[in-house]
Symmetry: C2
Subunit: 224 residues, 2 copies
């Protein structure tokens, strides 16, 4: 088995590149997309990143539906509109602010990719007690796509204000397949310097230390 | 708002670096860890990657518990052992193969990080119809950590054969916080050339085209 180890070491320069990509990644919405389809090679690079995500028990439980057809995208957009109108009520005194936000780019982005979880046929190693790890694997693939898209200077947005059942029917998904993410991809005229919702003062960045605990919740000792 | 756009363009060389990191990332288990704690700077870089993951509505619903204490890790390991023994039965005729696999590095890795989802106090933008997007944000953070760890030549493994409730109690997690991932991190003596479960012939890599659909499931036309 040790002959199956590789000694590939990444450098501090490689670390810096990854850090920059992570820090410059943005959720891109309609106002920023340019209506020009990424090249086949770029799309392939994004899918290769997805297909090399980690997956529980190497189950690779992901399915990607690449949508460019405008009629199909219009149907998804209609579902968004209905769902989004209903969502506003949850924001009480911020409803008017909410209504002004542009939260998707389904029609502006020339490529949409719906990402599904395909349930396994039998037991999956590692998925016996935390069953959601199958879906989590699909999310890891999405995050790989997001980073690769950003490295290619392609914008990507994740639309989650959708009726998953309705979108599954539009895309003719087999029974049991679960819509995990609906993505909009395309070139952009730029990426915001900070997350759009931070710029718009919808939400603040959390204090770093507030999210980090040592040894267990509530312990005051900081050993690392 | 356009003044908030930045023109940072990544190069084909940057794309190549990201691709290499993605392709060389592995799930690292006990046999490969070296018992030497990553530096504070390295740990900070991994956490910075996590904290800049995308999150639904910029909610940043993640919590990280850094565990080095051996007594705490031993308690988690005990939970793993119990859960793993019960899991074997699911693999029927492969039970003996399963029993031989080393599936975690809780004690071998000097640093464990438990990653929790913290439920929101109120409505979260984008999380009104697909509620799981909060947990998905936490998974995106984990994937950022995995890639940054690999770029730093640090191994990371995700242990999912755990009783999430039990581990939450061990770590004194507040009610409602949900364990999403339990990670083992440390230096390694190398990374496998391919996923370990592929090398061991536990599972095969899926055919690329089988996971990719065009326009909708079942359509035969390939427009892109």
């Amino acid at each position: 088995m040790p002959d199956l180890l590789n000694g590939r070491l990444f450098t501090p320069q490689d670390v810096a590149v990854l850090k920059e990509i992570i820090l410059h990644r943005r959720d891109v919405r309609g106002a920023r997309f340019v209506d020009r389809l990424p090249t086949q090679q770029e799309i392939d690079q994004i899918l290769t990143a997805a297909l090399h995500a980690p997956s529980v028990g190497f189950s690779q439980p992901w399915e990607f539906v690449l949508v460019t057809d405008r009629n199909i995208r219009q149907k998804v957009k209609d579902s968004f509109d209905t769902t989004n109108a209903a969502a506003q009520a949850a924001f009480k005194e911020r409803q008017q602010d909410y209504a002004r936000l542009k939260l998707e780019g389904i029609l502006e982005a020339p490529l949409n990719i719906a990402v599904f979880y395909r349930p396994p046929g039998g037991a999956v190693l590692g998925q016996t007690s935390m069953m959601d790890t199958g879906v989590y694997s699909v999310v890891c693939a999405v995050q790989n796509m997001w980073l690769m898209a950003r490295a290619l200077n392609i914008g990507m947005g994740w639309v989650s204000i959708l009726d998953a059942e309705k979108v599954s029917r539009i895309l003719n998904a087999p029974a049991g397949h679960q819509l995990v993410a609906y993505l909009c991809l395309g070139y952009t005229d730029g990426f915001y310097t900070r997350p759009e919702l931070e710029i718009l003062e919808w939400e603040k960045r959390r204090d770093r230390e507030g999210a980090i605990h040592h040894e267990r919740y509530g312990d005051q000792t900081k050993s690392i």
